[in-house]
């Protein structure tokens, strides 16, 4: 049984639905770890509220946030996957079907950028990126709905042969611009190099790495550790009303490029919406997170 239109349609809809009702386990762990180290009483109270909100959403099958965002999918197709049907259409149709049936209903967040008209549908919605995995016999779908509160603070600047000091200073500049606004403690993704679009993609994907994992590149691992210390030294704190916990993680990745080096920085809010599953060639669905 190959990977079918129906299977992709059903799974892409389910991933979006699931992502709205549960904070990922690594993120709950990050909030609990922050609660143990946070020195400000008010900040601890906010962190406790975050954990309480997450638990209540899961227990009562509610949305954690009313801004369900817009559906963003990252699809990876294995070169050994056997496809039967238009899986691109399946993702779009799955979103449409979900809008019809989801309870509670979704707010109309999909916005025409030229007219600001809002609805459930629109051009290029859902937003999908496509990648290929050599030899794999599955299709992986990662759903990361993006809300306005944290989405709007992403930024990118292009440098020529920057030093690490310049790159890190730019990250801190973007952190300062976001300030209290993006529902901290956030997960920060940094993408260095490649080209304009590649750097942004790397930054976005970096936010999806599990909190607590160590970057396999020692140079990046140490950069992540010192940037996390630096971000938390700013003192914006949970929900930006003060404290030691402004970020739960900083994840950095890079691609080689020419010498003009884009540096992209983006943020996920504390609820860190993220679900991922694979459909294998035998039709089985493997829920990854």
């Amino acid at each position: 049984m190959p990977i079918t239109y129906d299977a992709v349609k059903a799974l892409s809809a389910q991933l979006y639905d699931w992502s709205l009702r549960r904070v990922p386990p690594d993120t709950l762990g990050g909030l609990e770890a922050a609660l143990a180290t946070e020195t400000q009483d008010g900040a601890r109270q906010v962190l406790r509220m975050m954990l309480g909100s997450a638990r209540k959403a899961e227990a009562e099958d509610r949305f954690v946030c009313s801004d369900a965002g817009v559906p963003v999918y990252h699809v990876t197709i294995g070169t050994a996957a056997r496809l039967d049907g238009d899986i691109k259409a399946a993702i779009s149709d799955g979103f449409d079907a979900l809008v019809e049936r989801i309870s509670p209903p979704l707010l109309k967040h999909v916005t025409n950028p030229l007219t600001n008209e809002r609805g459930h549908k629109g051009r290029d919605m859902p937003l999908v990126t496509w990648d290929v995995a050599g030899g794999a016999d599955w299709v992986e779908i990662l759903c990361q709905p993006k809300a306005l509160g944290s989405g709007r603070w992403a930024a990118l600047e292009t440098f020529s042969f920057p030093t690490l000091a310049q790159i890190e200073e730019y990250v801190m500049k973007v952190v300062m611009q976001a300030g209290s606004q993006h529902c901290p403690p956030v997960i920060i993704g940094v993408g260095i190099g490649g080209s304009f679009d590649v750097a942004a993609r790397i930054a976005s994907k970096a936010t999806m790495r599990a909190i607590g994992t160590t970057n396999p590149e020692p140079m990046l691992a140490s950069m992540e550790a010192r940037l996390l210390r630096a971000v938390n030294a700013t003192g914006f704190g949970p929900m930006g009303t003060g404290g030691d916990t402004t970020a739960l993680a900083v994840h950095v990745d890079y691609a080689s490029g020419h010498g003009y080096t884009p540096v992209a920085v983006c943020f996920n809010c504390w609820i860190n919406r993220r679900t991922r599953a694979r459909i294998h060639n035998d039709g089985s669905v493997e829920r990854m997170e």
Partner: protein, 225 residues
Amino acid sequence: MSAPQDQKQGTAGLNRPRPADIRTLRFPLTRDDARRLRAGDMILADGEIVITAGLPTVQRLVACAEEARDPPIALDGGSLFHLGSYSQDTADGGLEILYMNPTTSTRFNPLMPRLIRHFGLTAVGGKGGLDAGCVEAMREVGCVYLSFLGGGAPLHSAAIKAVREVAYPDLVAHYRLVRLAVEGLGPLTVGIDAHGNSLFDALQQQAADRMPDILARLDADRAAS
């Protein structure tokens, strides 16, 4: 206002309260209650609030103020929170709010001073704070900014006791103007008090002041790695 009430706190004075300090206040907040609050206090809200997450909605309210028309829901001396909600009709002809959560307040910065002054609002709020122009209007009028937990929809929604009024039905759900009865809404952090103290501005300044040391530490850590 007396001088001590107007005195601004330094950043060092903006320590948060212990949870035991959280009081429940009646809404609409009285002007005296608003002025008694200090940036960093945490409170719970009982009573009635007015909410919307919509820029078109806030623009319509500004038009009401400019044209001396009454808004569809009375705002005088009340609150206007930047909260989005999803409501649906109920079998008995009423409305039920399915979920509610704050939206970013700063995009309303240009419009809020006019509304705060015209309607004499005692409380505004949402998430992320408001700018210096709003802080000044709030100080003049005696109005506080309350910071809601973003991603707190299950908690905020559970505090809703009744939907009293819904206006602007032509707008999408979260843009409508809604008057709600709430009980135990919060805890809410006083992000900006009625005396010109803004946690958001103070923390932004604090972070800017710390930045030379933060960058120096980054350099030292990089050199050691």
